[in-house]
Amino acid sequence: MTSPVLSLNEVSLALKGNAGVVEILHGIDLQVAAQETLGLIGPSGSGKSSLLMLMGGLERATSGSVQALGHDLSAMNEDALARFRRHHMGVVFQSFHLIPTMTALENVATPLELAGDRDAFDRAAEELCAVGLEDRLDHYPAQMSGGEQQRVALARAAAPRPDILLADEPTGNLDGANGAAIMDLLFGLRDRHGATLVLVTHAPELAARCDRVVRLADGRISPMNEAAQ
């Protein structure tokens, strides 16, 4: 394997909930190579999404280290993490997470603006055209269907040409046809921009499109993991 883009060593995560501390992940060791497509699968509650959040610096590991592009995310403060994501990462969520007070164009332009792109709006419009939403530029999220919202979210994640694309069950809230279209777009974007893609999914057919699949169970990488390949 070439030098990994993402490298997790002995990573554990425990979160404080109403019922006390809950152990989410235990001693995860995982490397993801440049331009690789990795599928994270496993039952609900196995820690897939939490692992993805750790990779994106959206969650902080209780122990162990998370490295991305050679940077130790565990050592960065919140603002440094934000700046790192701005230039290197795109995230797509199951629930889209568009900002309701912004139009589609503004939602997509925002990360570009944050990254200091002078042509943020032109590029945002191009990205939206690329996902087939050229007629929806000035629509607010509430005025769009779920499939359209997820396409905006995809365009937003891909617009800054990130090195790493993280997608958390991007088709989970969509019907079959819309889900398939979104996956085609996601893989198309990845191919076009040559990004590393980490994908959390329940869908076996999606996992099958990945270069590699990691199965999680009870917060650990399952020993049967590589057997799926």
Binding site: T101, M102, R156, D168
Partner: protein
Amino acid sequence: MMAWRIARRELRGGLSGFRIFLICLALGVAAIAAVGLVRDGIEAGLRANGAVILGGDAQMSFTYREANAQERRWMADTAETVSEVIDFRSMLVVARAGQTDRALTQVKAVDDFYPLYGQVLLTPDWPLERVLAGNGVAVARVLADRLGLQIGDTVQLGTKVFTLNAVLDRLPDDAGGGFGLGPPTLVRKAALEGAGLLEPGTLYDSQYRLKLFAGAAVESLEQEAMAQFRDSGMRWRDARNAAPGLSEFVGRMGAFLVLVGLAGLAVGGVGVSAAVRAYLDGKTEVIATLKTLGAESRTIFAAYLMQIGVLSVLGIALGLALGAMVPILLAPLIESRLPLPADLGLRAAPLAEAALYGALTALIFTLLPLSRSGRVRAAALFRDIAEPVRSWPGWRVLITLVVLLGALVWAAAAFSGEVWLTLWAAGGVMGALLLLVCAAWGIRVLARRAAGLRMVRGRTSLRLALGAVAGPGGEATSVVLSLGLGLTVLAAVGQIDTNLRAAISDELPDVAPSYFIVDIQPGQLQGFLDRVENDPGVSRVQTAPMLRGVITRINGQPAREVAGEHWVLSSDRGVTSSDIAPEGTQITQGQWWPAAYDGPPQVSFAAEEAAEMGLKLGDLLTVNILGRDIDAQITSFRVVDFSTAGIGFVMSMNPAALAGAPYTSIATIYAQEEAEAAILRDLATQYPNITAIRVRDAISRVTEVLRGMAAAITYGAMATLITGLFVLIGAAAAGQRARIYEAAVLKTLGAARGQVLAYFTLRAGILGAAAGLIAVFAGGVAGWAVMTFVMDTEYSFEPRSAFVVVVGGVIATLLSGLGFAWRPLAARPAQVLRGRE
């Protein structure tokens, strides 16, 4: 009943979403209850102390003269005791170490029976007989301080020297007199003899205070006295309404402040409405479930109406408790500022009034969101449950809303007794709210345009802020509505106050005289004119003979029956005479009498007042002057301008008509400010009996009164603003979840906390500045309208108070907005976003 059971179960969820609802309602109700209680307390104090404030059970008063033998006989037969007070303005003169100081004072010359009721408070605390014995006087503290007087000093009134034996702390009968230019001096009437002050024609009032026999029928005594003596200029007042001016002022001010309170309640209503809407939006799923289970729209509407009803009762009760505490806690402070004892305690009527306003407001502002609750469809459960119902309410709701609004306005009009003021205020508040809604829409359009500008691109925080202001969610409307009304009132007060003061202090002195001189005796006139006309600092002197008379009849009919309660008839009026029309006289109708005319009396009447009273040329006026009836025919109308503080008489007669009546002259002196002191010194030394009123002092007294009124209105506007601030805080608290979410998404996209904070700050700042600018615009329009149409003077935009209003708007939104920014900034994106998955 099913609806009640549902309501009760829902209420078990607690009041957490209703804090702002309760605060908004409670504050509005508390303000109105407090104003009502204080107003009723003062009115009760006035009623209970009527005899003290008046100085007797009843009072008969005359101008220019004392009571004649017949009148004295009637009073002696009617009353147990009669006390006589002579009341007039004069100059109090202090000469020491070669320097002479003068000040205007209101002299009360009293007899041995004074005061019939109440007590004179003096320092030192000597009996009044001792203080006034011989040539003793007591002067008001403010006057003693101004002239640097010590007990034992000598002062001069007219040509006589008096000894200051005490300082007056309070006169029991000082509250009913109204607006006075000079602080009082108390002296024995007998001691004034030889002071040269009460000469024939001198302007003074004689007041006869009557202590009536127990059980005397005041009303029939009044009728008897009026029937016998009204036509000879007698005026009657009694303890039933001892201080009509003050009581009317308190009533008016109370009505006005209640209306300001209602405006505050309307702003609170915006918060109440928002709280109910947010609560019901969160209940969409519950309502859809209830519908799925078979609940009818009516049941659901009733269930939520009951919940809001219970909360409203709680809010109103809180408000009443808070409002009731104000007069109790602030009683010492309020009473120390009143010239009379008030009876501040709990009273049912003002509390019930406030509760009624609270209940109606709560219903009006919650009906629309409540009506939506019944229209949530069961299918909402299977679709996007977050989508609330946003359709137009049915006609039944709209009619109910109109009826409730009508009831609120009717109640306010009925309670205040000020129908037109209430209708104007209600129209004003509704118009202002409508204007603010339109303005909020305009701001959103502007922000949308601005967000698209090329120059904004790349300035992420600014673009995000503009986008948020323009975007859906109604934040712009809620901020502009909650802050706008209070800021508008504040801006209007600022504009009017500054313009008025400028008009009074800059413009009026240019056209107004320096001194008004009264009581110039006929023999003194020539000497007076010689002194002032030869002074190079004096630009103009006007003099006119003056008497005072009461119009008793018009064409033989009692004047009030013909012309109603016009101000010209309310008391005695100045009457002058002139052989030829004075220079600059503008006759609008008829003709001035020929020179040296000595036929039947003729009168020239002020044109505007004549039109108001319905007088026409040829009408016969009966004017009682010093007890003598003069029947004069109106032969001309002329323009009289009272606005320049110059000499203006409603009536001018031909000199022969007034021949034989003892008169004095009044004069106005237009002089440079530097020349004023020397003129006063010379005139007062040469003619100790005359009284000089410095117009600048009178103007500053008027300015003081205006400032007091502006302060009261500003306090009212502040109450509205505080309610608005709570509404803002409510909106910010309600929006916190959305802000946390936005911050999490923005951080995910790469925004640093500083950028998110800048975005929140700009967003709040833009909305606050917008609310302030709208308020300045609306306040400016109100200021222009008041100055142009009411005050009849020029308006110029005043930037300083406008700036304060805009800055105030920004600070208010920043305080409320940024107070809720820390949690969104601190929250971890993963936790927030996970919660939304």
